[in-house]
C-alpha cells in the first residue's frame, strides 16, 4: 500500500502545482509545439502569444505596466548572473547581506576575485533580521548596486525591501531583489516599491516547471546592463549585432516555451485564487507548525516566530542530533519530505550559529493541509521521544 506523502520542501520547489499548469504544457506539446517568433505561420504566432500573455500575467501579478520588460531566463540564478555580470565593472561597489543564497554569494565572490569589484556583506542578527542602518552605513560613492533577498531561504525572515528600496532611490543606487522565496506568496507591488530589478524563479511559488525564471527590469535601468549573452532573437535578423530593445536584448536563443506555458498557467492560477488567500492559508499553516514545534522543548526554531515578519520556511535545530538522519527518518518512516543541511546559504548559517552542521528545514506550501502539519508535528515528536541524544 502506498505510504502517504507529505511534501514540506516548498522552498526548494513546489512539487504540487495547480492542474492548469500540466494542462497548459500538454496543450503546447499537443497543439502548438512551434518556436515563438521564428515564423509567420499560425502555430509560431500562437507560441509567441504564449510568451506575450505570460509577460502580461506577470505584469498583473506584480502591478507593472511594461510586458516587454519581463525577461525570461533558464532560472533565477541565470537572471542574477546576467544582471551582475552585465552591469558591474572593476571598482564598482555592491552591498548585499549575509542572508543570501549562493546564487548571489558565489557570483559576487567570483567577481571580487576575477573582476575586482568590492562587496559588503551586511550582517544580520541571529534571527536573520537585517538592520537598514547597517546597509546605509556601508554605502560609498562607488556603490552601484544593492542586491538582497526578499526573504531568507533558511530562516524565512523577511527583509525590509520597502525601506531598502527607498534608501537606494535616495542614493541613486540600483536595487535588485531576489524573490525566490516570496513571488506568488507575498504581494510585491512594483509601482509602490522602489525595486529596479525583480529576479524571480518560476518553479517555486509561481508554480511553473523547473527551467523557468527571469527578471523584471524598470526602464531605463536596462541601459546600464550589457547583454551578457548574445544570439538569435527572431527579430531584425538582417543586423549582425544584438538588438538593444526589450525583451530581445536579454532573450537570445529559443525560449523554453513549453515551460513558460506552464509558468503562465501557474501565475494565472495565483491571480485566480488571489495572492491574499494564498498568503493567508500558508501563514495559517505555518503558525500551526510553529506552535507545534514550540511545544517540544528540544526543538529550537531558528528565525523569527512572529508570522508577520516571516514566510512559510521554518528552520529548526536540535542539540546533539544528526539532522540529516532526522530528515531521512521523517521520509523513511512517515513519508514527510524536508531538507537538512546548509540550503545553499552558508553565510546565513554562520549568522544564525548553525554552521557547518546546518538546520532541518520545513517549508509549507499552499497545497498542504492542516492534516499534513499535524502529521509532521506528531512524527517529529515520536522520533525525538524514541531516540536518545546522540
Amino acid at each position: 500500500m502506498d505510504k502517504k506523502q507529505i511534501y514540506l520542501d516548498n522552498a526548494a520547489t513546489s512539487k504540487i502545482k495547480p492542474a492548469s499548469v500540466r494542462e497548459a504544457m500538454i496543450n503546447y506539446y499537443d497543439n502548438i509545439g512551434c518556436s515563438p517568433g521564428r515564423g509567420g505561420y499560425q502555430q509560431s504566432l500562437n507560441a509567441g502569444r504564449i510568451l506575450l500573455e505570460a509577460r502580461m500575467s506577470f505584469c498583473e501579478l506584480f502591478n507593472f505596466d511594461k510586458p516587454e520588460n519581463v525577461i525570461f531566463t533558464h532560472n533565477i540564478t541565470y537572471a542574477i548572473n546576467m544582471i551582475l555580470k552585465g552591469m558591474l565593472e572593476e571598482g564598482d561597489h555592491v552591498i548585499t547581506t549575509m542572508m543570501e543564497h549562493n546564487a548571489i554569494i558565489r557570483p559576487l565572490n567570483h567577481m571580487i576575485n576575477d573582476l575586482g569589484i568590492e562587496v559588503d556583506f551586511v550582517k544580520a542578527n541571529e534571527k536573520g533580521e537585517v538592520n537598514l542602518e547597517d546597509i546605509e552605513n556601508v554605502i560609498k560613492e562607488n556603490t552601484r548596486l544593492i542586491i538582497t533577498t526578499h526573504a531568507s531561504n533558511v530562516t524565512g525572515t523577511i527583509l525590509p525591501i520597502k525601506e531598502i528600496g527607498n534608501l537606494a532611490k535616495k542614493k541613486n543606487i540600483v536595487y535588485m531583489v531576489d524573490s525566490a522565496q516570496t513571488a506568488g506568496s507575498i504581494e510585491i507591488d512594483l509601482k509602490e516599491l522602489n525595486i529596479d530589478i525583480l529576479a524571480f524563479t518560476g518553479h517555486k511559488g509561481l508554480y511553473g516547471p523547473t527551467g523557468t525564471g527571469g527578471f523584471i527590469i524598470k526602464s531605463p535601468v536596462e541601459n546600464q546592463i550589457y547583454s551578457f549573452i548574445q544570439g538569435g532573437t527572431g527579430s531584425i535578423s538582417d543586423k549582425d549585432i544584438q538588438p538593444d530593445f526589450l525583451p530581445d536584448k536579454f532573450e537570445s536563443g529559443t525560449i523554453n516555451t513549453i515551460g513558460i506555458a506552464g509558468l503562465k498557467a501557474g501565475v494565472d492560477s495565483i491571480l485566480k485564487i488571489g495572492i491574499d488567500k494564498i498568503h493567508e492559508k500558508k501563514m495559517k499553516l505555518t503558525k500551526r507548525l510553529i506552535d507545534g514545534f514550540l511545544k517540544n522543548e528540544r526543538i529550537q526554531i531558528k528565525g523569527v516566530i512572529d508570522i508577520e515578519k516571516r514566510v512559510s520556511t521554518i528552520s529548526i535545530y536540535i542539540e546533539n542530533y544528526d539532522l540529516g538522519m532526522l530528515s531521512f527518518e521523517l521520509d523513511d518512516q512517515y513519508g514527510i519530505m524536508t531538507r537538512s543541511g546548509l540550503h545553499c546559504a552558508p553565510y546565513a548559517h554562520k549568522t544564525i550559529g548553525t554552521y557547518p552542521e546546518g538546520t532541518l528545514r520545513f517549508s509549507v506550501g499552499y497545497f498542504n493541509t492542516e492534516d499534513d502539519i499535524d502529521c509532521a508535528i506528531r512524527a517529529l515528536d515520536e522520533i525525538l521521544n524514541t531516540r536518545s541524544i546522540n
Binding site: 502506498d2 492542474a19 492548469s20 492560477s269 485564487i273 488567500k277
Partner: protein, 367 residues
C-alpha cells in the same frame, strides 16, 4: 460452526446434451469431510458467505487480480482469512487492464484470474471481446438487475456516485446561485469556473456525458453539453483534479466521483457537496473472472464470496461506500442512495456507444 449443505442435483444426460436440465435439490447436512460425485453440487457455507465452488483443499492456492485501486487489499485479506486462498493484486488504469487482458488472451498466457474494480463500460467492452468468463453465481440473485451484467459476465460491488464539489465562498463572492440542478451550471458568471475531467480519460466524465445523453435524449443532451463545455476552461486529465481545483479555489464547481462520503466537506469548511436534484451519474465497481484463467474454481469462489453478504459487508467497510446489495447496511456518513436521484443508466449502451460519443464530444470541444 460451519456447515456444508450438499445439494444433490440429478442431471439427466439427455437434457444436459440439449442444454436443458432438470434439478432435484435435496439438502443434507454433513460434517466437513464430504464426498463429491459427478452429479453433486456442493455449497460451502461460511459465516454469511457461501460458494458452490469452494473446497477446503484450495487453501494455499493463489489467484492473480487486476484492479484500478490498491484499496481493495483489505478486502482480499479478509477473503484469504475466510478461504485460505491468497490473492496477489496489481493496480493499473482501466485502459491498461483492458489492453493487458487482450495481450494475455492473444498470447495464450493468461496471468490474471480476476478483474475487480474499474469502469462498468470497460468490463462490458472486455466481455464483448471475449476476455471475460460467464459465471452465474447463486449469490448474484441477491443483486438487482441494474447492478449486474444480464449475461453474467460481471457483478457490481461498491457504488461510485457523481457529485458536485462546490466552493461556497466563491459562490457567495461571485453572487451565484448555489447549483441544484444541471442547468444551474450554465449560469453566466460561472463561465470558466466549472471543472470537469476529460471523458476520454476519465470514467467520471464519460459517465456524466453518457448519462446526460441518455436522460435528456440525443438532441437536447448535446445542446446542454455544448453549453456546459463553454463553462469549462479545460478538461483535466485525472478524475480527481476537479475536486482539488475547487478546494484550492481554482474553480467554483467540480464534477467529481465519490464513494458517497462527506470527507471533503468535513475537512474543508469552504466546501459543500451537492447531488444534483434532477439526477446524477453513478456506476457499480464490477468484479469478473478472466477468460482463460487456469484457476477457474478458485476465481468463482472469489466472485461467490465478494457478492455474498459477508463479502459486501467487507467491501462496504473497507471502501467506506454504499454497495450493490440491499441487505447490507450503509456505513455511517455515507450518502443513502434512496435519498438522491440517480440517472437511469444503460451501461451496455454506454460501452457500445463510447467511441461515437467521444468523437462527437471532441468535435464540440474543438469548436
Amino acid at each position: 460452526m460451519k456447515k456444508i449443505i450438499v445439494i444433490l442435483t440429478m442431471f439427466l444426460l439427455v437434457f444436459s446434451l440439449n442444454g436443458c436440465k432438470a434439478n432435484e435439490e435435496v439438502e443434507v447436512e454433513t460434517q466437513d469431510n464430504k464426498e463429491e460425485t459427478s452429479n453433486e453440487q456442493v455449497i460451502y457455507e461460511g459465516d454469511n458467505w457461501s460458494s458452490s465452488n469452494y473446497t477446503t483443499d484450495m487453501k494455499g492456492n493463489t489467484l492473480n487480480l487486476y484492479g484500478v485501486t490498491d484499496k481493495v487489499r483489505p478486502i482480499l485479506d479478509v477473503f484469504e482469512e475466510d478461504t485460505g486462498i491468497k490473492i496477489e493484486n496489481l493496480t493499473l488504469k482501466n485502459g491498461e487492464i483492458l489492453q493487458r487482458l487482450k495481450n494475455e488472451y492473444d498470447s495464450g498466457v493468461v496471468i490474471a484470474d480476476l478483474w475487480f474494480t474499474g469502469g462498468a463500460d470497460t468490463f462490458i467492452n472486455a466481455a464483448e471481446e471475449g476476455l471475460l468468463l460467464q459465471y452465474e453465481s447463486e449469490n448474484g440473485k441477491m443483486l438487482d438487475d441494474i447492478m449486474k451484467d444480464p449475461n453474467n459476465y460481471w457483478y457490481g460491488t461498491s457504488l461510485t456516485l457523481v457529485n458536485w464539489v462546490i466552493n461556497k465562498d466563491l459562490i457567495e463572492e461571485n453572487n451565484l446561485k448555489m447549483p441544484e440542478v444541471w442547468e444551474d451550471l450554465l449560469q453566466e458568471n460561472m463561465k470558466g469556473q466549472v471543472s470537469m475531467s476529460n471523458p476520454a480519460s476519465s470514467g467520471t466524465a464519460y459517465n456524466v456525458v453518457s448519462a446526460i445523453l441518455q436522460t435528456k435524449g440525443e438532441e437536447e443532451g448535446w445542446e446542454y453539453l455544448k453549453k456546459l463545455i463553454e463553462q469549462v476552461p479545460f478538461f483535466t486529465a485525472r478524475g480527481s483534479d476537479p475536486a482539488n481545483m475547487v478546494v484550492n479555489g481554482e474553480a467554483i464547481v467540480g464534477i467529481n466521483a465519490s464513494n458517497g462520503d462527506r470527507e471533503l466537506e468535513i475537512n474543508n469548511p469552504n466546501i459543500k457537496l451537492v447531488y444534483p436534484s434532477d439526477g446524477t451519474g453513478w456506476w457499480p465497481q464490477p468484479v469478473a473472472i478472466v477468460n482463460g484463467t487456469k484457476n477457474e474454481a478458485e476465481a468463482k469462489v472469489f466472485v461467490d464470496w465478494v457478492i455474498s453478504k459477508k463479502g459486501m459487508e467487507t467491501v462496504a467497510e473497507s471502501r467506506n461506500a454504499a454497495v450493490a446489495r440491499n441487505d447490507v447496511s450503509i456505513p455511517e456518513g455515507i450518502q443513502d442512495i434512496n435519498d438522491i436521484k440517480l440517472f437511469p443508466t444503460d451501461f451496455q449502451a454506454n460501452a457500445l456507444k463510447r467511441e461515437s460519443i467521444l468523437e462527437a464530444w471532441n468535435k464540440c470541444v474543438e469548436k
